[in-house]
């Protein structure tokens, strides 16, 4: 059996009680893991490469100061030989000089929906269309943002249980 990503990142092999607790919700643990695969390494990545997905995920983790998760996505990005542009966007501190209009629009949306989803409006989807994304691209991006934010919340809650 492969190691569960969330267990691995949180080091739950060293917290048998918490690992056993997650085991009481084994279906949820399994589907969290398969959702991770579907969002980050889908069979058909289409217009979002694996490296770009990992870089955006790392960026979201950093936006919420989820350092363990950000480090995980850095590792994924390096294994995929992420290009220089992907490496830069994984950290929100880096300037976006030289990024394409498509990438700038994607990053704007990632930052908005990660930190302040309540402020998202119809016009924000209009900006994605204007940058050349199609219907499926927009759903792909929304799904990636939504999954990684779910993962950030699950990990924040499990970290609370682990450390208290």
């Amino acid at each position: 059996m492969t190691i569960d990503v969330v267990d691995h990142i949180l080091g739950l092999t060293g917290s048998p009680d918490l690992a056993a607790l997650r085991g009481q919700r084994a279906d949820i643990r399994r589907l969290t893991e398969s959702s991770y695969e579907a969002a980050l390494h889908p069979g058909e990545p289409r217009n979002f490469s694996y490296a770009e997905r990992a870089a955006l995920a790392g960026r979201m983790a950093r936006l919420w100061k989820s350092h363990e998760l950000a480090a995980h996505y850095d590792g994924v990005l390096h294994k995929q030989d992420g290009d220089a542009a992907s490496l830069r966007i994984s950290d929100p501190e880096n300037p976006l000089d030289g990024a394409t209009d498509r990438l700038k629009a994607i990053i704007r949306h990632v930052d908005l929906v990660t930190l302040t989803p309540r402020q998202a409006e119809k016009s924000d989807i209009g900006l994605l269309y204007a940058a050349g994304l199609d219907d499926r691209d927009i759903v792909t991006l929304a799904g990636l943002i939504a999954f990684v934010n779910y993962q950030i919340l699950v990990m924040a809650g499990l970290r609370m249980l682990r450390d208290n």
Binding site: R25, S34, P117, R136, V139, A142, L153, V154, G157, L161
Partner: protein
Amino acid sequence: MAREIVRSFTLDALEWDPYVTPVDLAEATPEQLNALKVTPSNTKVSAYVRVLAHEPETLTERTPLFNDIMYAKGGLSRGERELGALAASLVNHCIYCAAVHANRFIALEKQPEIIEEIYARGIKADLPEKYQAIFDFGIELTAHPDRVGVYQFYHLREIGLTDLEILDLIHAVAIFGWANRLMHTLGEPVREA
């Protein structure tokens, strides 16, 4: 029939209009139909789910994950999971999600006054102790996942939640961090004017 966009929290039954074009069932691939669970006897599929069908691989995992989190036996009560979902939807301003899950809370807990208070005072709602702790945790984890720690844990313990109940609450709030980011950003709630 004229439809109006709904901009404030409500218990009314709402519809949802997408900002992107949903998958057309007549043109859907076998993988999309499988993810949609479309069968000859079940051809009514909401616009929301047809939007998500643009990514069938994700939708196939997400549907059972959502159901397990909200309906799995044991642990946190069904109504208390709905309260966690509502807290997240309030912070993220997902009016459609809030309407659905506020109504489910009322149906399960038979306490409409709890929802009245939440809709009147939002995240500052003043609730009975156990509901308060669950609601506050939902608000905190949604708004500040980077700040959840010993203080929040202590409050959940103080009202007597077990580890499994706390885990169930974490999952219920987190899956709405997911659902709200789809439903609130990919379309808008509407009703007949």
